[in-house]
Point group: D3
Chain length 290, copies 6
């Protein structure tokens, strides 16, 4: 009576269902140990939740309301600091359970390597899984400074697991020459610089496919998302990112889960990155889950 969980700032807005009741499960993956430039994304999930208070429950873009969904916010996972391998194992185990329980996972990063663990779990359930990857960085390295578990490697790992032909990257504007050579020669799809237009062109060929969407907030220009680990100038606007998410929502693909990673509050003084991330999460939930 005195406390309204949906409004208290402790959960993502309107995510007040129990695990059992919920179709969608929001959870934080506060891992950031392999980031090379500016760490701090472990606090990202909590600030995205706080920023979600400022959102309406209704999306005029999609004409849908969060009331129409059943969402449980499970909080942040307990992960062993500094141990990337063990952390990924725990994330994978959680994702296994979520998929087994027919939940739609909405993961909040943390660094991009966390997506690798969730995709591994999704692939166990859907052998023909496709990944849509929206990012400034190719993340296609074999290793980074000798480590294969790095924030620069998840898409390469995913490409090897799913087959390059099932990986679609959009908005890429940074990487090593080797990464772009791999993108060109492996059979994966990569669109440079832009997101909405090339995505709209590719979506028809994905019709009917099971798709996991992984969104690195740094695809936005640092003007829109300064609070991130590896800001890269020359990015897209939040308007274009919304247009891209809405294009997926209105396409014939079946989204089975999604994440949003790399929100780093220490460089987000005005909280605009968290504000943008919270809105993207709302739109993904309303658009991806019927």
């Amino acid at each position: 009576m005195f406390f309204d969980e949906g409004y208290s700032g402790r959960k993502f807005i309107m995510s007040d269902k129990t695990y059992e009741e919920a179709d969608i499960v929001v959870f934080g993956m506060p891992m950031d140990y392999t980031v090379s430039f500016r760490p701090g994304s472990r606090f990202g999930p909590n600030r995205i939740r706080e920023a979600s208070i400022g959102l309406e429950e209704y999306s005029v873009y999609l004409d849908r309301d969060l009331e129409e969904l059943s969402v449980h916010d499970a909080g942040d996972m307990l992960l062993p600091f500094g141990n990337a391998a063990k952390s990924l194992d725990r994330i994978e185990a959680l994702a296994d359970q979520l998929f087994q329980d027919d939940k739609f996972p909405v993961g909040l990063g943390g660094e991009h390597l966390v997506s690798w663990a969730v995709v591994k779990a999704a692939h166990k359930k859907w052998k023909d899984l496709t990944v849509i990857h929206i990012d400034a960085h190719a993340d296609l390295r074999e290793e980074y400074e000798g480590e294969t578990l790095s924030h620069s490697t998840p898409i390469r790992k995913i490409s090897r697991l799913l087959g390059p032909e099932n990986v679609y990257s959009f908005g890429i504007r940074s990487g090593m020459k080797e990464e772009f050579t791999y993108a060109e020669t492996s059979g994966m799809h990569m669109s440079r610089f832009d997101v909405a237009e090339p995505l709209k062109k590719k979506l028809p060929e994905l019709e009917g496919r099971k798709v996991y969407v992984t969104l690195d907030i740094d695809v936005l220009d640092p003007a829109y998302a300064p609070g991130t680990g590896t800001p890269e100038a020359g990015g897209i606007t939040s308007k274009e990112l919304l247009e891209a998410l809405h294009a997926i929502a209105s396409s014939g693909v079946e989204v089975v889960g999604c994440d949003l990673v790399e929100v780093s509050p220490a460089y987000d003084q005005s909280e605009k990155t968290a504000v943008a991330a919270a809105k993207m999460i709302r739109e993904m939930m309303l658009g991806f889950k019927s």
Copy 2:
């Protein structure tokens, strides 16, 4: 001799005329008690003045100079803290006097509710008044958390007073479903997401009308205006907002007053919101007042 008011940082640039001499009166309305998300706009007017020091007096967009105008900056109003009703009464009384004295009011908010008080006064003088409303939020609620005096309600109040057909909203990207239903069924005009293009299409039908312009700075994307109470991702650029104001300036409408609201310095670390607001004020004064 030693002090140059136009340069001192204590008034808006070139607003050094006396009340009697002036055609335009700039004044601050430091009220922010009904804001739900992030308060603090009470300090907005002073920081806009400070930022105006960095501006040229000349606008290359309009080929006009502030020297051609007579402006008085009256400072910030004294308002009773925490009492929205009394504060609005004082603002209305001031606006009554300004309109009676044939001054062109340029109000600096403060939260958006202050516009309601100024429009009430303008409507006493011009019964056929039209309002152009540029904002991210519909502000069309009947009440908010049981209060009818809320930052979410001013346009609904204005619509009831002027008639919905005399309210034109542009750039709206957030609100409750009920607000958008009202917008569609009441007879008012609402353009979603964009400002400049739909405004240019509507301006011809407003030719010859008395118009009050109310501008909520949060129509800009948080990239351009992070220092505001309810930042909403997916907004327009400052270039588009300038284009919209210049379209009004070159149209056949007669602007009788204007305001700019919701600048909140606590979230404006780099002062970019105040810098943008100061330029918009300069352009509105140069463009709206012949």
Copy 3:
């Protein structure tokens, strides 16, 4: 298994008991509408919780561990924005229930006016209640700008309810002349500028009394607590504040509840205010509740 509530950043550290199990109940009172200078304390409770993650569960000062307590963090209350009277009614009703259920309340502000509501409830249960008030400001005004419900008035209201002889203020360094005159002539106790030394002198005369402790974080110098609504230079150090709280803990008074108010994150860029507040909360819980 995957989620550890005590570590997730969503509750105060180690506050993972249910309401029924708990002896202590932490709750947020996100109200800040009557603050005159810099609003924003409504987000204080959530940031204090976030900062508590960085704390140890063990206090070397008191040689006690949070494991020895049973604490429930109930989240933030749902309060009607902009309506101080209704908000205070709700807080009082919650506090009534907490005292009725024999819970020890630990309130997180919000502005200082919230303490007035909790003390009213406490006074219903303990007619001989004493209040220890630690603050930079006297808060003894009859009204502020014509309003009696203001952040400047709670101690005056408390003094009238409990009798001035049951109010003990420490650290006061700001107020109107009238407030200090009242303090000198009414029979209440007020110590200026310092906290630990005068408090230690007064505690023996309070032995055996039921005491409510209300702590305004701005008693700390702005060097230690910049994130507050009315920062006042010339304050005490966090070391002195700890010393004061430990003196209460080791005295013979029986503390029946406490609060910490006026943490305002918008001015707390380095989060040091939230970090200090979280530690004070830990020490008050460990020291005041056996």
Copy 4:
């Protein structure tokens, strides 16, 4: 009627008298071109004024109220950017006039070099003038990078004009070896590291003297005053600085003017430096001017 200058944020609190009515004249000297480390103090005066809104008019330390004084805030001077010599000439001319009109000047810097111009003017009126200098830095250089007009040289210039025996420096903790050698051999007084205790010991020998007080805010530790051009760790607390100012106020010296310099808002995110400076200004006005 609608505007209350004392509350509007455009003047220092309660500085609403006209020049003619006033005994005290507050004025800003927005010059910062010779600062070597972090410039930006030109915006200091305006932020000190803004922060003064948060102050009470009454000082419980001195049991005096600003209502007992007659203060005019003249705004910021118009100075030629980048030209230190011309700027100093203008400041000296203004100070000449203030002293001629029997006004008590309260100068807001700007960099410390501005004090040199005011002291030159004061020395024309009082040939036996003494300067009390409170600062982290000796400011006793002959030149800095080949320039004699530098923020590192004002006290050396003052010492040459007034005679070293009429210069009393307190709190000094940084300088070149040559500066400390000069301090020891010239006959001036210099106390290192501390302010309040050594000042209290020296004040009796200054009884009956005409004294100008120049206060560099960086005498405070960067914990208390981060917003300054040359922050130096190991400084005093704001409590000690208040104690020092109150010691001067209650001594037998006759203060003829004062200034506070080097507040630099760009490094003052939480505004604590401006908040401390505003309080020091209030205490100096209440304590120095009967």
Copy 5:
């Protein structure tokens, strides 16, 4: 062996060649004394270097890698504070030597006046030099507040030296009426508001010419580059600026040197301005120097 200069954060990424080995010399010009609004660009060069760590060495836009170049980062120049004339003399002398040694200079400002000194040196070597000037401000004043050495005057000086017909300005959105009149009547080229499109139209007529490129970071909107001395709303995106630089790179002009000025870290809390500047420097080096 333990230290990798290219990674240490002390030099611009991959600028580890000796002066003798290098074709390109990066150097900082930490001068900002004539800036009128917000000083602080003297720290710009160091933060651009620090931000460069986050960049890849490879540009996917140009398909080139910094490994293909030989770059020496010479650090920041030693300049006499507060003395603009002597500082410019030193910069000119350094530029003389660089051009004599057939080095390609990449200057990091500092305020825009520094470009005047480098262009003077370049003009000694190439009498038919052309300047491409990308900026928000015309910088065409004869003087500013009586000073001819001001950040508002460098392009006017350059125009007089090279002849107006050899000066091409793009993106200009602010200036005095006199500056725009000069631009229209003198024979120089000026494009207002936009950069990429008008530049692409003009480049063919510059084919074969020796060109110096001077880039003021404030041509970007404050959303993209808040950390600058005179932010001006209504600017271009970082995507458009990249497009413009790439257009120069693929045109037939011969670039002989370039600079990037006015990065001011004090207003760059999230470091996005330094991040954008570092990328522009990388693209200019890779695109302009074969």
Copy 6:
């Protein structure tokens, strides 16, 4: 001639000797992967260097000048991200070489675990080595979240290597109960809360001993050092820390090396932590190395 390394901002002030010439070697250890609360100390060394520009070369505390020393700043080490074990191996190898070459190492952290590697190297040369440890945290854990290589464990490791009787900790105010039990029962020395007074009492018994000093900046209160990974309220002032370092300098111990760790720029908006750290480094070099 044009570049003065001592002033360029790229090295610690006056650290311009070559490795061969130098007696003292400053080096950065940009490792922060095991920090649990707020990472980011990898950028600490560079910001300490930048802040050192604001320092005088002369210390009035010690009456010594950096000119009397021979210092080489070697830059930041290249460390494999995310791999704590390999990073520590590299640091140990570097320290081995420094001690072998009779250099006095001054390490800039980075997280506190780096000290473990340097002490291991020092212990190879001096079997009777003593460590003076100044910190807010005991750092005496056996493991943290299952990892033995954690920022919470270095002093426990050092205690095991050197023998507890050779470890002296000062200022400790946070830790688990087990850590304090270990401190009491193992034979090591630990002083709680204070540093200068207990250190002065212990120094006589260390006379003639070889001592390594490891200083965690978080021993300062967050008021003085907010830019750190695990801020803990209730700390000491920078004045007390200076007093402690000067006590070591004037005692009869022989310091063989030192470090300063845990400066984290992302939470150091006003740069006061870097400013304090730079001064402590200067005082340690001037005081510890004859």
